[in-house]
């Protein structure tokens, strides 16, 4: 199913959670809403689900206006951060809930419901645990049950609100790949909210980067990494060294003339240059297009050497990844040339 979010605004008192947000998904797509807390990503997800309602704008499912339709009538699967399982019901009853609350004429027969539950327990790889209560399961198992419960109603759309937020690192990693496989098997359009960029980069088809209630960029993981549309996206996704620049006639002067690099966009006035730690090389000392830094610390990490260094007049220390063979001692002076960078 395709979803269109058209010019949605939502205010809570004086706080604007969503400011004229427009978004379109393709059928079968796995979309991530990524942003820091307060960016409006959860509000957007809840508005699509019908758990929150916009002050302005429309939500369309396959061209049909759903703006005022309550959640119960949207047939969406929603997975909550804290599982939201029904504590007094067994795992099987939790999964069956969406089917058993249907009106009698739409309700499958008891045997059909049991078969569906068994099938879903198989899908979430917990076939033996149908008789357990949620309290007897681990966090990862609970979230899988929550997903099975959402899938039981054969939703048109799957929405996940920080589904792995409450789990520890290793379980998160395992569940990520598993969720992507489930998505591919079911072919459902899925949207999930996360503040973890690694998670979004790893499993989403496209990433919607949000800040302060507006969308900063929509793009594939490759696009948001290599061609960030704004300074915020650049610094939010991946590590970045940020330095002030003055742009003049196709050149960008870093700091107060510490180094000068070409500015292909040919901007004018003040700006900010973003340099990823691994997008640098070692230069001859005194090179005009290299940063004269003093090493603070140096340690090998895998196949690269991570250098923490300081630059005269810049408060924040910088980080660079050089080949592991490049020895560097604390206190040593180095010339670091940015190879790839973006100027905003």
């Amino acid at each position: 199913m395709s979803i269109v979010v058209d010019n949605i605004s939502r205010r809570f008192g004086g706080f604007t959670a969503l400011d004229r947000v427009t978004l379109e998904t393709k059928p079968g797509e796995f979309l991530a809403l990524l942003g820091p807390s307060g960016s409006g990503k959860t509000t957007l997800l809840r508005t699509i689900a019908g758990l929150d309602f916009a002050d302005e704008g429309h939500v369309l499912f396959d061209g049909q206006d759903m703006t005022g339709t309550p959640a119960a009538e949207r047939r969406i699967g929603f997975v909550f951060q804290n599982y939201a399982l029904f504590r007094h019901m067994t795992v099987a009853d939790n999964i069956a809930f969406g089917l058993t609350v249907r009106k009698r004429r739409d309700r499958p027969a008891k045997a059909a419901i049991a078969a569906k539950v068994a099938e879903l327990l198989e899908l979430i790889q917990l076939p033996q645990l149908g008789d357990r209560y949620p309290a007897q399961l681990s966090g990862g198992q609970r979230q899988r049950v929550a997903l099975a419960r959402a899938l039981a109603i054969e939703p048109r759309l799957l929405l996940l609100d920080e589904p792995f937020g409450a789990l520890d690192a290793q379980v998160r990693k395992d569940l990520r790949g598993w969720l992507r496989r489930i998505h591919d098997e079911t072919g459902l359009t899925s949207i999930f909210v996360t503040h973890d960029q690694e998670e979004a980069l790893e499993i989403a088809d496209r990433i919607v980067v949000m800040r302060g209630g507006v969308i900063e960029q929509i793009g594939t993981p490759a696009e948001v990494q290599s061609a960030p549309a704004t300074a915020f996206v650049s610094s939010f996704i991946g590590e970045t060294n940020r330095l002030p620049v003055t742009r003049r006639d196709g050149a960008a002067i870093i700091g107060d003339g510490l180094a000068t690099v070409p500015d292909e966009a040919r901007g004018q006035g003040g700006g900010e240059i973003h340099i990823r730690p691994h997008d640098v090389e070692l230069a001859q000392s005194g090179a005009a297009d290299a940063l004269p830094v003093t090493v603070l610390a140096s340690r090998p990490i895998g196949r690269s050497r991570r250098i923490t260094a300081e630059l005269a007049g810049i408060a924040e220390p910088l980080t660079f990844d050089l080949p592991v063979a490049e020895e560097a001692a604390a206190g040593q002076s180095l010339s670091i040339r940015p190879v790839r960078y973006r100027i905003f």
Binding site: A71, F80, M89, F97, G98, V101, Y133
Partner: protein, 276 residues
């Protein structure tokens, strides 16, 4: 047999259990057993003559009946108030929250006098009800209303934390799964808060059975009609009939204990069937 030498991650069972039994004995069991011993000294004839007299039976019926009815009414409206206080934000919420505890804080006699002035035939509410043929003051209905007033905080304060702990997202999950509000309430919320509701009900009921101060003004205290058991005990005491008072007290004690035990067993049975 409990092995006392076994090491435990939570040591101190022996000491705390000893303290518990000592304290419970001192505060609860010794006074009550004195009551039972005194009643036992009367002999069955003497005991039955006062404790099971028609007048006493009518008083028990009123005390327990009104307490049950009031607890049931409170279970419904107390739940509603707890719901409002937990789920919604509105101006004056803190005031309402504080007002719930007033029946706890107010001297019961003050409550009784207030209720009488309100519900007597020339009171604000009583004068409106009188033309409809409904008499509140000096009837069992008045007793029930007084007990509703007294018992309300028990339900609200028992249910409130459990409801808050239940979380919005569980209700929202039910909604996204297609459940109506009625289904969500009946199948998700009520089962989850039932133990707390039952506890609140038991507390309100127990309080209602023993309540005295707020009722005597509104009850009118007519034997066989609006006379509650605690009042009957006071009446006996005023006539220096300590044995009679003890007999009635004993019957109340047994009945109350039986009902509270029943509620506790119900809780245990529920807990066995599910949840933790």
């Amino acid at each position: 047999m409990l092995r006392t030498k076994r090491r435990s991650a939570l040591p101190g069972f022996g000491l705390t259990m000893g303290m518990t039994i000592f304290w419970l004995g001192l505060v609860v069991l010794v006074p009550l057993s004195a009551l039972v011993i005194r009643a036992a000294g009367m002999g069955w004839e003497g005991f039955a003559e006062v404790g099971l007299s028609p007048r006493a039976l009518a008083a028990y019926r009123l005390s327990f009946g009104a307490a049950l009815a009031a607890a049931a009414i409170n279970a419904v409206f107390g739940l509603l108030i707890a719901w409002i206080l937990v789920r919604y934000e509105f101006p004056g919420k803190k005031l309402i929250d504080a007002a719930v505890d007033l029946p706890f804080a107010l001297p019961t006699a003050v409550a009784g006098i207030a209720l009488v002035s309100l519900y007597s035939e020339n009171g604000w509410v009583g004068s409106l009800l009188a033309p409809l043929g409904i008499k509140v003051a000096y009837t069992p209905l008045g007793v029930t209303i007084a007990l509703v007033f007294i018992g309300l905080p028990f339900i609200v304060r028992s249910v409130q934390p459990v409801l808050a702990d239940l979380g919005r997202d569980v209700e929202e999950a039910a909604a996204t799964l297609g459940a109506s509000r009625v289904q969500t309430f009946g199948r998700v919320i009520l089962p989850a808060i039932a133990p707390a509701l039952l506890t609140g009900f038991a507390l309100a009921f127990a309080r209602g059975v023993g309540e005295y101060g707020s009722i005597i003004f509104i009850a009118g205290n007519m034997p066989f009609k609006s006379e509650i058991a605690p009042l009957l005990i006071i009446t006996q005491l005023e006539q220096f009939d300590y044995n009679g008072a003890t007999a009635i007290a004993c019957v109340m004690l047994v009945l109350s204990f039986a009902m509270l035990l029943f509620v506790n067993l119900l809780q245990a049975w529920r807990a066995k069937r599910g949840t933790r």
